[in-house]
Amino acid sequence: AQSVSQHNHHVILSEAASLELGCNYSYGGTVNLFWYVQYPGQHLQLLLKYFSGDPLVKGIKGFEAEFIKSKFSFNLRKPSVQWSDTAEYFCAVNGGNYGQNFVFGPGTRLSVLP
């Protein structure tokens, strides 16, 4: 069965600090990988996705993630966070070939202090 773990439950940073949120998954086959963001009181929005090709993917709002197959990891990064990045971040995986079963990690809460 697929599973997703996220390293940190709650991360607190000051504005302009660099961010890295860890994500590891467990799945034996080809995977598609996603990062979603949930701003307070809102629904989940797609930040970025990896299906195939260049393992370094760039998303919206200056976020990027790197897929390292050997480590089963898909860590999210941003060089300089802003107060408006305060949100819950979810890593998710589904099976390749446009699989329909999405498995989400437990989420990491990011608090950015002004």
Binding site: N32, F34, Y36, Q38, Q42, H43, L44, Q45, L46, K49, F51, E88, F90, A92, N94, Y98, G99, Q100, N101, F102, V103, F104, P106, G107, R109
Partner: protein, 110 residues
């Protein structure tokens, strides 16, 4: 136009009642989902439908019954509501491996 919409946005009800949440997507997607997000923000899949047919049915009490009248709609009916059903319920749709979420329905059972 909203891609995935849900109604109602908020639902407050008493234990033992029966309630429904509606979801509609105008993206032309074949697959729709219901997720439950608890107070700790943990997101758990409940059901998935592909072209009106149930394809994923996680361990969910049979008080929860999804209904898909057509591939653009996936409604969730809940019988005999319990305190533990209080959560935010998200509908989503997907196509080509990418998923889009609705705004959520915050259900509070008192």
């Amino acid at each position: 136009d909203t891609a995935v919409s849900q109604t109602p946005k908020y639902l407050v009800t008493q234990m033992g009642n029966d309630k429904s949440i509606k979801c509609e997507q105008n993206l032309g997607h074949d697959t729709m989902y219901w997720y439950k997000q608890d107070s700790k923000k943990f997101l758990k899949i409940m059901f998935s439908y592909n072209n009106k047919e149930l394809i994923i049915n996680e361990t969910v009490p049979n008080r929860f019954s999804p209904k898909s009248p057509d591939k653009a709609h996936l409604n969730l009916h809940i019988n005999s509501l319990e305190l533990g059903d209080s959560a935010v319920y998200f509908c989503a749709s997907s196509q080509a491996g990418e998923q889009y979420f609705g705004p959520g329905t915050r259900l509070t059972v008192t």
